[in-house]
Each structure stands twice: as C-alpha cells, then as structure tokens.
Symmetry: C2
C-alpha cells in the first residue's frame, strides 16, 4: 500500500465506491504513522470536512481492515488503532501515556510463517509494552520524590 491512487484502484476493484470522504480518509491514513484511532483521524479531518461523521470514518476503516489493506489492533488503552503499515514490525506501547510508535529496525522483523501447526496465519501484531523515554524520566523523578518523602 504505497500511494493513495494504488489503494483507490484496489478498493474500486473490490466493488467499492470512492466518495470524497473516503478519498480523504485514505489519504489521511496513509500519511499517518501514529497508529491513529478512528476518533483521531476524524478530528484531523474536521477542518477539511466539517460535516464528516465519526460513523463514516469507522465504516471506511473497517472496510479496509476486512480487505486486508490495513491492520486493526487494540493496544490495551480501550481503543482500536489502525495501521496502514502491514510490513513485519513491532509497536512500542507506553503503558503510561498510551502513545504508540513503531519499533526501529530490526526489532520485530520476524518472517511470518504461513502456518503454525494446523493454524493458518494471516497477520501478526507484536506489541512491546513499556515506558517511553518521557514517561520513564517522569517515573524516575516520582520515585526519587517518594524516597524523599519517606
């Protein structure tokens, strides 16, 4: 999934119709490496499409996910995240601020087996839970503070 044009063609090939809303949703998604939620994308599109419904964003993203054009995963923060990058990689999920970023190469770049025993593998989600630099620093500061109080 490189360009928007490429994606539009594939959607059309599946019998989907390209509305102005979907064209912009796809474009926004492809240019977003922050693993946005439907609400995040919706907010980002409000300036361009003030009447865009959140329902429409969900519908567009879920259709793409079912078509295998993007990955849809829950990171443990109670929301669903979407990632147009289906290449093998891992996500770094901060357990404190819930921010998500791609792990830099070569972490998580395991080759995906076609089958594991009798199980047919289609996709993988690898989440590394931990503390991002900012939150780790804040956590250290708090520990120091607690020691001072005791």
């Amino acid at each position: 999934m490189r360009s928007v044009q490429e994606l539009l063609e594939r959607v059309r090939a599946r019998g989907g119709k390209i509305t102005p809303q979907r064209a912009l949703i796809y474009q926004a998604l492809l240019g977003d490496t922050t693993h946005p939620t439907a609400e995040a994308l919706h907010a980002r599109l409000m300036p361009a499409l003030p009447h865009l419904s959140l329902t429409t964003v969900y519908a567009a993203l879920n259709d793409l996910a079912e078509a295998g054009e993007l990955r849809r995963f829950a990171a443990g923060d109670g929301q669903i995240h979407y990632d147009p990058d289906c290449s093998p990689h891992a996500e770094l999920v901060c357990v404190r601020c819930h921010r998500i970023q791609d792990a830099p190469a070569p972490f998580g770049q395991h080759t995906l087996p076609e089958r594991v025993g009798e199980f047919l593998v289609l996709a993988r989600t690898e989440l590394l839970h931990g503390l991002c630099p900012a939150c780790a620093a804040r956590a250290e500061g708090e520990e120091a503070g607690e020691r001072a109080n005791a």
Copy 2:
C-alpha cells in the same frame, strides 16, 4: 508464577489481603491456559462461589496485572484476556471464532530486549491472527458452496 501458594505470598508481600474469593480466582486463573476473560473466569467460579461479583473478578485480575503477575491483552474481539504465562510465546487468535491458543514452541520465543532505543521494554504481546483448523475447514466448505451457486 508456578503455584498458587507462591502467588499468594507475593501478593501478601505487596500488602494485599487474601480473601476466599481471591484465593479461588487465582487458583482458577493459574489452571487456565485458555486466556480467559473476566466473564469466563467468573462463570467458571459460579458453582464454587454463587455470590461472586463480576466486579470482584475484575478487581482481582487488574491488581495482578498491575503487579506484573499476569499479562492483560486485547485480542481484537472487544474483550480483555488475561494470561498468567509471562514466558516468551505467541498467541494464535482465530479471526472467525475468536478462540485463542498458545503457539507451540518454538514460535514467538524471541528474547525480549531490555530496551529498544530509548524505550524501556517491560513485556511483550505477540498475536498471530488467522484461521484455526476448524474455521479454516468451514471456510473452505463455504467457498466451495459459493462456487457451486455461481
């Protein structure tokens, strides 16, 4: 986290109090390799504790998760699953029936890096999405049926 006794000691060491409910919840969890949800565990405990509240199960599990005694992850079916097995392994998640099973060795047994760049890694969740043997067979049957109809 091998035995229930071991776990009870660690909980007590953290200042937690061991109620009959929690003792049974812990025991049921440790003996469960199906990555149960809070509701599944609650249902399983109803015969033993008819008055057990779902709220209590959630509280017990979340406390353990925060203490790092179990893994808490969303598999994409809209529910939260708990797994007492923190050793490196992957989960096979059927996208159709949503059943979850551990991948057999050696899949997913990657060593966990302590840090990835500036990011401090604490735990990993690796999900292999696909079709379990039963659902794969059913899917093939349906495809054959569709071809027959066409």
